[in-house]
């Protein structure tokens, strides 16, 4: 109410995106498939599969040794560039490492890149967005202009300079990806806060004399968080991809056990002679992103109180 008309416009816009962008299907959503027709993508079956996939990946991340048939660092120079076979289900790479084992062991760092960078990004972006949305006024303007500035500076530049400034390393890659994702989260959070602030229950809470801080913590934040969290599930995949992109530009980290992005980027030169080296890590990313998105969609439906209420 105290923000400018322009701010209201943007926030409204963002809210619309948020709502629509997350595939919200209204109750009584339209579709013409009648009961007899085969229903593809039946939400629950797919989500179930996705759940299995993610559980498997988490298992890979936690106890890769149980799953991988070989050590990921074992370089069998007698068996380099071998096509998939019974011995090496996904083939071997140019060091003679078993690609399947590499992928299994690489899960941990890949997930770590995804999860940590999203966590940091959400934390910073969410906080800034909350501040801007809740405080409004000058602070809002300043913060949002700052976010604009961050958006304007190409993410790759941020990533490259952060990596250059802090030195390479998983932590800094994570930080680089996180920082370039901050403006997005901040904007969504701000829009969300602005919207939730106007909700009836916030008004109602204010009317009984609850403190603003308690309203923020107990009402506004919990109700604003869902879209941010759903956005974060999408961010998981794109962070891993961003990591792969940095790896491609030569900013990766040479770890004993490369993450999927690094595998993909390092193996790309062998696409013509040994396609399996970078294709399977690519599929691993796809599988992860796909599953997380499916679960995210479903979860969004689940946390959306409006949809919970309906038949």
């Amino acid at each position: 109410m105290k923000h400018s008309a322009a701010a209201a416009k943007t926030s409204g816009r963002l809210r619309r995106i948020r709502q629509a962008g997350l595939d919200k299907a209204p109750c009584g959503a339209q579709h013409r498939t009648s009961g007899t027709k085969l229903r593809f993508g039946s939400a629950d079956v797919l989500t179930g599969l996705a759940g299995i996939a993610v559980s498997f990946l988490v298992l890979c991340a936690l106890v890769p040794g149980w799953i991988a048939p070989y050590s990921p660092t074992e370089m069998n120079t007698a068996a380099i560039l071998q096509a998939p076979s019974v011995l090496h289900p996904l083939g071997t790479d140019y060091f003679g490492r078993d690609v399947f084992s590499l992928i299994v062991y690489g899960t941990r760092d890949s997930l770590l890149i995804g999860i940590c960078s999203v966590l940091v990004g959400v934390l910073i972006g969410g906080t800034l967005g909350t501040l801007a949305g809740y405080a409004g006024g000058k602070l809002d303007t300043v913060l949002m202009r700052l976010m604009d500035v961050l958006l304007t500076v190409p993410g790759i530049l941020l990533a490259l300079t952060i990596a250059a400034a802090l030195g390479p390393g998983l932590r800094n890659i994570v930080l680089a990806i996180a920082i370039s994702s901050v403006p997005g989260y901040a904007r969504v959070m701000r829009g969300q806060i602005l919207a939730i602030r106007r909700r009836g229950y916030v008004f109602a809470s204010r009317a009984i004399g609850a403190r603003p801080s308690s309203i923020l913590i107990r009402h506004v934040l919990p109700n604003s968080a869902a879209p941010l969290l759903v956005m974060a599930t999408l961010g998981l995949g794109s962070s891993i991809l961003a990591g792969a992109g940095l790896s491609f530009l030569g900013l990766g980290v040479l770890k004993e056990i490369p993450d999927w992005g690094a595998l993909l980027s390092q193996g790309r030169g062998y696409l013509t002679v040994a396609w399996w080296i970078c294709t399977f890590p690519g599929l691993a990313i796809t599988l992860f992103v796909l599953s997380i998105n499916l679960i995210g969609d479903r979860w969004r439906d689940a946390v959306d109180p409006k949809r919970k209420g309906k038949v």
Binding site: Q30, H31, S34, G35, G200, A207, I208, H219, K308, V311
Partner: protein
């Protein structure tokens, strides 16, 4: 040739994530050419879905016609191929909807949407159709139709849009017009205009009308015949007059009893139907009404009563139709005689202070309150101001219930918020117990919050969906008391029982409750810290009649028990009359009349009050030209000079256009701001 519409044993299934549910079961009714049939029933009873099925619009909404027939002029619709159905829609059957604001595509002009409808069914030059469109708009009473054709839906008022939609519906020259709650979203004065228009069009065009409504008053005014739906089944149907006066189904009589009419005396307990309508997923077996029915027997629980002939064109689905009919007659007899007998008793039950407001001390007082909302501005646009509340003075005595009525946008809610200082005024002041109420955010503000509570209009939007109801009700306790968790739980349990819910429901979430139950939760929350004053802003407007009656009863009981003072805001005049000691009428940010409740209804002094009263469907003045307000409420951005009502007033003079009338006393405790009080 024309046989009208025939619906026979229509059953509609809907696919939901929880499986296929039956929304409408074996409903049958006919509409003869030129006839108006009203489909009445509470929310969720299947009115909309049944009407959509007639046009096969259910196809798009997970719906499926699972059985029965729909015939229009002898032609079966339920099995027609898609392209033929499309030819039917808009041409032989047209439909208008509840919310005209939402029923137009916001990004196309009114004109293009009307022309588009015509072009869907015939080939004709655009300019010709354009001209026809203008004529249609003129026909439904839209001023400057050429201009309106070029405007976007967002630029027209609701009443205007509803007219435009009617025009659009007429463009195909339909045999049957389905109107799904066409006036619920509109102001009372506009509702009256629209209903009148529909009636007039039906006469002149010879259409049939299927009018869907939950308002028995509307049905009484419009219908030739009435079909009462309950939980997806027809409960009763027959000629309007008979159904309304001698119902043969307990549900119908329950509905009639719940509805507030002028026959019911103020302060009297309403005979509400207990419980709430069942959800689709948990339909009771046998007669679906039996859990709420006073006549329910084992038979009702076990087998479904068929829709049986009750003579003189009436059908009812009840095993105990005769008893019900007898009971209804007795009840209405009681209602007719009761007032004289019980009035003194009732008044004795009220706190003494509430009766003669003058004597008791004033609890809350507004002095020349103004609230101006700046809008626009910045970005190079001219700054403008909405005069939401524009100089209102009033006082509410301890123990009194003050009712506030007025059309949408007249500033009732804003005034309420100002009185509680939930917003700061532009001008004027608010006194609470003689002291100026501390503005929001100040140190003392929190203390006054305990005394002043609100019951909100939207019982769903004003509770945090993530909190269970225990937490919701306990929130004010957490803010204002130092109770332990266990004590709080205990208190919440008490409160739940006090509002007619079970104390064990604390751990449930809002979405698990029906609308009426949610409003009870809101009330429990409001009374949790023993307030002195309660603002009820449209606290019952969103509820079904049967439930509304329960809540009104509850509110009255609580007020009496707790000795509450309250401000009761509503646009439903009957409700306000029923519950309030005094009533204030607002128009465009100003209070135009204040009077004791009965006095206001008996002897309205301001032409606007008169217009409001005459727009109540079924009221003696209804449809009386001389008392209806013309046109629509002007924009609060630039309210008319002089008397604000002069643009719509049937008796306005030059004086009214020039000078703002002052409040004059027209009776004891009765004041009005009019140059020519009636």
């Amino acid at each position: 040739m024309k046989t009208g519409l025939e619906v026979k044993e229509l059953t509609i299934d809907v696919h939901t994530p929880r499986g296929t549910l039956t929304a409408v079961s074996e409903i049958s009714f006919d509409i003869a050419p030129g006839e108006t049939v009203c489909l009445v029933g509470e929310s969720g009873s299947g009115k909309t879905i049944a009407s959509k099925a007639i046009m096969r619009l259910t196809d798009y909404e997970n719906g499926r016609i699972a059985g029965g027939h729909i015939r229009l002029g002898g032609q079966s619709i339920e099995s027609l191929p898609d392209h033929l159905v499309r030819g039917l829609r808009g041409r032989r059957i047209a439909m208008i909807f509840q919310e005209p604001m939402a029923a137009f595509d916001p990004v196309f002009t009114i004109g293009s949407q009307i022309v588009e409808t015509m072009r869907a069914h015939r080939r004709e030059k655009k300019s010709v159709l354009q001209q026809e469109g203008v004529e249609l708009l003129r026909r439904v009473g839209i001023p400057e139709p050429e201009l309106r054709m070029k405007q976007y839906p967002g630029e027209l008022s609701g009443g205007m849009l509803q007219r435009a939609m009617i025009a659009m519906a007429l463009s195909g020259g339909p045999e049957l017009l389905i109107a799904d709650e066409p006036t619920t979203a509109l102001d009372v004065t506009v509702q009256a205009q629209i209903l009148e228009l529909l009636d007039e069009l039906k006469e002149s065009l010879g259409m049939s009308i299927l009018l869907i409504t939950h308002d028995l008053g509307v049905a009484a005014q419009m219908a030739d015949r009435i079909v009462v739906l309950y939980a997806g089944r027809v409960a009763e149907q027959g000629p309007a007059a008979e159904v309304l006066t001698a119902p043969r189904h307990p549900y119908t009589s329950g509905l009639l009893n719940s509805a507030l009419t002028q026959d019911i005396r103020r302060g009297e307990r309403l005979r509400a139907i207990e419980g709430s309508p069942p959800g689709l997923a948990d339909m009771p077996g046998g007669c679906r009404f039996h859990p709420r029915c006073a006549y329910a027997s084992d038979r009702c629980r076990e087998s479904v009563p068929p829709l049986s002939d009750q003579g003189s064109g009436r059908l009812a689905a009840c095993w105990h139709a005769d008893e019900a009919a007898a009971g209804a007659a007795a009840a209405s007899f009681a209602a007719a005689v009761q007032p004289e007998v019980s009035r003194p008793l009732l008044q004795a039950a009220l706190p003494v202070a509430a009766i003669n407001g003058k004597a008791s001390p004033i609890l809350l007082e507004a002095q020349n309150l103004k609230k101006h909302y700046p809008i626009g501005g910045g970005w190079g646009r001219r700054k403008r101001v909405i005069h939401a509340v524009d100089g209102v003075s009033l006082s509410i005595a301890e123990g009194e219930t003050f009712g506030l009525v007025g059309e949408s946008g007249s500033g009732k809610s804003t005034l309420g918020r100002l009185l509680l200082q939930l917003e700061s005024q532009t001008e004027g002041r608010v006194l609470y117990g003689g002291e100026e109420l501390s503005p929001q955010g100040s140190r003392r503000w929190r203390e006054t919050r305990r005394d002043l509570q609100i019951i909100h209009q939207d019982p769903y939007g004003t509770v945090d969906p993530r909190w269970n109801i225990g937490e919701i009700i306990a929130e004010p306790l957490g803010v204002h008391t130092k109770l332990t968790a266990a004590e709080r739980r205990g208190r919440v349990g008490e409160l739940l029982e006090q509002v007619g819910l079970q104390s064990s429901w604390q751990d449930r979430y809002p979405h698990e409750f029906s609308g009426g139950q949610r409003q009870r939760i809101g009330i429990a929350r409001a009374i949790a810290v023993n307030p002195r004053f309660i603002l009820a802003d449209e606290a019952v407007s969103a509820l079904d009649v049967s439930v509304q009656a329960q809540i009104v009863n509850l509110l009255q009981d609580l007020q009496r028990q707790l000795g509450l003072t309250s401000l009761f805001i509503a646009h439903g005049l009957q409700v306000v009359r029923h519950i309030s000691n005094r009533i204030g009428v607002m128009y465009l940010g100003k209070l135009v009349e204040v009077a004791p409740s009965e006095e206001l209804f008996r002897r309205p002094a301001h032409p606007y009050t008169r217009a409001l009263l005459s727009s109540i469907p079924g009221s003696p003045q209804a449809g009386n030209e001389t008392f209806t307000a013309k046109g629509e409420i002007p924009s609060p951005m630039n309210p008319p000079a002089g008397c604000r009502f002069h643009t719509r007033c049937p008796i306005a003079t030059d004086l009214c256009r020039r000078a703002e009338p002052a409040f004059v006393s027209v009776g004891s405790g009765h004041t009005a701001a009019c140059h020519y009080p009636l």
